[in-house]
């Protein structure tokens, strides 16, 4: 159960934390761990689930089951977006996280039974060779192999292999066998399993944007803000062009929207400090602008002010390229004020992602604070 956890504040270790209503005589360490465990459990389930753009059913099912009875209304639309409404106040707030992940799609076969594939969403093809994958809804194991390094010409050894030259091997021995096992259009997922690497860092696939889904699920389960209609939207097809968010925002016509995303985190060797985009474990990243939108200064300033007043570690997303569902939402109807919070995620759009649980907890906390202040009428719109 997500509801009823006493404590979701989890500031960066060692930082003083201002008192909250939940701070009574309970042991903080225990409460913090409970919150982390709750977050971890839902994130793990969502990350291990599989869904490419247009194929979000498994993720949708988990979210629907998780939130049944914890929100006032759950519905789907023709695109496949999952809309969870909580409250029926006059101010309509859309919270957005997308369900789809990047992966591959079966596109053809050769006579020996090997499969060809295309990319779904933006991938660096250099992460594909030598990879184990899961094929289709039954998750048949497969591998993406390469010609043995011994047999390569010298110049080939340091050349990235383009996706169109790669094959997927499920062990099939003929074209017909391969096509029957994985018809054209069959999705292919990375086989990475969710695991904790340490107290605070977890490994898995698809944290973009299952981490956002986990944040939203937890916030929706706990939210109780009279005055607000919270429209939690788990969107489809973000990775192929912010498709689901656009139509959902049009249909729901919110007064404002908050997107919860995962973003690049390049705080690693070989990068300059100004190139890191975000730093792991330093809190949710507030978007100033991205490839599509400039966040209204009042909204982003408000988020920053909340974080500072309540001692929630935060950072700014230090990149102006790339984008998320915010770019699909803000242009709907006569314009929808939209802001975004991003969870730093190392190795985004690659098969193995790393995420810091303090960032997850901090994002949950900041979204709650945002909703609370909206309910109090404090947000400049």
């Amino acid at each position: 159960m997500l509801r009823g956890q006493a404590e979701d504040v989890n500031p960066a270790a060692g930082r003083p934390r201002p008192p909250t209503d939940a701070d009574t005589d309970t042991d903080t360490a225990v409460d913090t761990n409970t919150a982390v465990d709750t977050n971890t459990a839902i994130l793990g389930r969502l990350a291990d689930a599989c869904g490419l753009a247009g194929d979000e059913g498994e993720v949708r099912t988990i979210l629907r089951e998780t939130l049944a009875g914890l929100v006032d209304e759950i519905s789907t639309d023709t695109m496949g977006n999952l809309v969870c409404r909580k409250g029926s106040g006059p101010l309509r707030v859309m919270l957005d996280a997308h369900m789809d992940e990047v992966g591959l799609v079966v596109s053809g076969y050769d006579e020996t039974g090997l499969l060809r594939f295309k990319e779904s969403g933006g991938l660096d093809p250099r992460v594909l060779p030598g990879r184990s994958v899961l094929v289709g809804p039954r998750k048949i194991p497969g591998v993406i192999g390469t010609q043995a390094v011994h047999l390569l010409d010298k110049e080939e050894k340091d050349k990235a292999i383009p996706t169109k030259e790669l094959y997927l091997d499920i062990g099939a021995r003929s074209r017909d066998e391969a096509a029957a096992a994985a018809p054209p259009g069959t999705p292919v997922y990375f086989s990475t399993r969710f695991e904790r690497l340490s107290d605070r860092v977890v490994k898995g696939k698809a944290f973009d944007d299952r981490a956002g889904c986990a944040v939203l699920a937890r916030v929706l389960a706990e939210a109780d803000y009279p005055g607000l209609t919270i429209l939690g939207v788990f969107t489809v097809q973000e990775e192929v062009g912010l498709r689901g968010a656009q139509t959902a925002a049009y249909r729901l016509a919110p007064d404002l929207a908050l997107v919860v995303e995962a973003t690049s985190c390049a705080d690693v060797p070989g990068t300059q400090p100004h190139e890191t985009v975000t730093r792991l474990g330093c809190g949710p990243a507030i978007t100033l602008a991205d490839a599509n939108i400039v966040v209204p200064p009042g909204l982003r300033g408000h988020l920053r002010g909340l974080a500072e007043r309540h001692g929630v570690p935060y950072q700014f997303r230090r990149l102006t390229t790339s984008g998320n569902d915010a770019g699909g939402i803000f242009l709907q109807r006569t314009g929808i004020p939209t802001c975004a919070l991003s969870l730093p995620c190392r190795y985004l759009h690659a098969p193995v992602n790393l995420l810091h649980l303090d960032d997850l907890a901090g994002t949950v906390r900041l979204v709650h604070l945002f909703l609370e202040s909206l309910a109090k009428g404090e947000v400049p719109l």
Binding site: T146, K157, K159, I161
Partner: protein, 359 residues
Amino acid sequence: MDIFSELALLSRAASVRGRESGTVELLKRRWGPWLDDVRTGRLGNFVGLRRGTGPEPRPKVMAAAHMDGVGLVVTRVEGGGFLRVTSVGGIDRRLLLGQEVQVQGRRPLTGVIGARPPHLSSPEERTGTVPLEELYVDTGLAESEVKELVPPGSPVLYRQDLVLLRNGRAAGRCLDDAVGLVVLGVALEELARVEHQADFYVVGTVGEEAGRYPGAVTAAYDLWPQIAFAVDVTFGSYPGQNDPTGTYPLGGGPAIGVGPNCHPKLVALLEEQATEAGIPFSREVMPGATGTDAWGIQVVRGAIPTAVLSVPLRYMHTPVETVSLDDIASTGKLLARAVARVDRPAVEGLSCYEDKPRT
């Protein structure tokens, strides 16, 4: 023998050269029941003996498969706890980026291989591989913890469980040469059911991937067998290969090497036994160095007749090396049949070259 689970155990136990002791311990447990004697060589080889029933002095047959796999080792811990690495053996640089790895430190850690992220690199950079010295391993742990747990020299291997594909094929890490070791296990199991004259030495060798075959040559010197087989993997065929003639189909049975490293009478013995048993096989043309333990063994002491028996394997030196489990079974059976045919006259015949005059 459940070949998949044997292969899974050996794949999991694998490490780089110099770190073969986990495999040695595993082989002691797995093969113990079929062996009359087990010891460890001075360089770390596993040496097991299954005695034959022939009169003394019995011929000695050795079969070798190497225990080391390709991988990386930690060279230093960077600020932030990132590990810098170098390669051991012929690593394929094209597939390191984004791989999940197992750091064999004071306790096993999970990590991921990273580099300067793609959004910061130019399109030209992305058409090439990232130089090994620019890659790092990220374990997600704090620097102090990493320094304590991961001394320089710790091996880093791909983290990949063995997976079963369709048609009895399996994919995983270090199947080069876990496959060869399973073949030796199958042969031992077979020989436990039939009478064999010769003493059969099964050897897990160290350091094959580094070249010079240190494990193989020292074991061959020590045991001084009359016959030695190297059991390794060869290139499984798949489309788009530069030279498809040097590759062998998965499911097509073992590849029997022919060439200067392969004694003609042993080749004949293997081919005759395969034919008799209805085991399909290919002939692998090896005009020079075979890149197997046999290359080292052949010239030990006053020469040892050698042969090379290989299981076809796709995607060599990747985390998803792929083989047919049937090929492992049939290669093991063939090896056992060949060993069972060795007696004193057969061994004496190996130095007789009755060359016919050419006309």
